[in-house]
């Protein structure tokens, strides 16, 4: 139990003593996770919307795939991305392995099915007449979709937060494609793992708490943004 208390103390001191390394790691975590979430959203939102609103063959298969994809083991995603980015791999020429970019790629792969499945679920729940009514008030396709998005704002935000939560907290892929290189690809989860394997449990828990704080802050910003008066 004292380990937990210790962790709390260390978390506070890490944050408020302005430990530069901790801040750098936190910032990198935020950057990588937000970028991965953004990429996942860019790919996943249209796909999820198409699944929810479209009527093309293979719709249900895609949805089942997305649902399964939520169980994509990060370790395996990390490994596959690593193999692809290997010097001997097809994308080796870019020299991306062990860079934040590679982490973004791997985490985006992890987050995309989450986004697809949850966006589809969110949009399917809005009254199907909603889009029709928006069209009937002069909405072009894009504006109607935007209005639909605004209407399903809360579950869409939940989807975004689920995706962000999935990537910010995962460690398997981050470790494998990032390599946990200090100052370059070390993020809060890999730092926590390292601290654990060094036996510095208090520090590991401190990193975990910082991570939770970060997640909460992002959630807060997103939630407040979603509840702006309209």
């Amino acid at each position: 139990m004292d380990v937990l208390l210790d962790g709390l103390t260390q978390a506070l001191s890490l944050l408020f003593s302005g430990d530069r390394e901790t801040w750098a790691i936190t910032l990198l975590t935020l950057r990588v996770s937000l970028a991965a979430t953004a990429v996942a959203a860019l790919v996943g939102v249209p796909l999820g919307a198409a699944i929810a609103l479209g009527a093309f063959p293979g719709r249900r298969l895609l949805l089942a795939a997305a649902n399964t994809g939520m169980g994509l083991p990060p370790v395996v995603v990390g490994l596959v991305v690593t193999v692809l980015l290997w010097r001997s791999g097809p994308l080796g020429g870019f020299g991306l392995l062990y860079t934040p970019t590679a982490m973004v790629v791997a985490q985006a792969v992890i987050a995309t099915p989450v986004v697809v499945a949850l966006v589809a679920a969110a949009l399917q729940q809005v009254d199907p007449e909603f889009l029709v009514q928006m069209q009937g008030l002069g909405a072009t396709r894009v504006r109607a979709l935007l209005a639909l998005g605004a209407e399903a704002r809360l579950p869409l935000l939940a989807a975004a937060m689920a995706a962000f939560g999935a990537v910010v907290s995962e460690v398997g892929a981050a470790q494998m494609v990032g390599g946990n290189i200090a100052g370059q690809t070390r993020v809060l989860t890999t730092a926590a793992v390292l601290a654990t394997s060094r036996g510095e449990f208090g520090l590991a828990i401190a990193f975990g708490l910082v991570l939770l704080l970060l997640a909460f802050a992002v959630n807060l910003v997103v939630t407040l943004a979603g509840q702006r008066p309209r």
Binding site: R87, G92, Y98, G179, S197, R198, G199
Partner: protein, 259 residues
Amino acid sequence: GAPAAGSSAERSLILATTTSTQDSGLLDELLPAFTAATGWAVKPVAVGSGQAIEMGRRGEADVVLVHSPAAEEEYVAEGTAGRRLLVMHNDFVLLGPEADPAGVRGARVDEAMRRIAGTGAVFVSRGDDSGTHAREKSLWEQAGVTPGAPWYQETGQGMGATLRVAAEKAGYTLSDRATHLAQPDGLALLVEGDPGLLNVYHVIEVTTRAGERVQPEAAAAFADWITGPDAQRLIGEFGSARYGQPLFVPDAGKPDPTG
């Protein structure tokens, strides 16, 4: 002299090494000095010995720093590797519960292994083909014991995690001294100093025979530097401040104890 900062950003090598060098903090000490001295930035990838050697074999790393002599020799024998140089050593220790139910305290290591097997006391193995695991397997072999369930348990994890499992299960385990010193694990040091417990680290150059994107000049730079006087001095000093004793003994240029 050191190259311009601009180009140093471009020049980076991948070092595949074992978790013990990272977990002990040695890399944090060495790498900045290496970069300052040669202009090469380093991406250290700390993984199991098996994975580190595999990365060298596939040309995914430029240089490998590991402690698994048998696997290393096999790898070098394949002919794709470059120089294999002795860097340093520390030693393995046999740890166990303070109560020592198998009564191994102070015994020779092969006798200790036999007693553990004989009493059926829990022994926790890393089971991950790491250098430590490889050494443990050869110790069982020397002791003439074939370990098995239920007393023999494999964690498949790194040293730190394995130490904790052993502590929780009040079992015996084999560990490198550095990790044991670094982690307050509550296990007692029962057997040490046996010649069979030497833990030797080699640096191995990867060549373009393993993959066309390998940077042999980087491999040479690292191998030369880490066996050079500056690095050897850093290795010799590392850990004294914190643990009151050095964690590694620099060995560059000495005769290789593993043959």
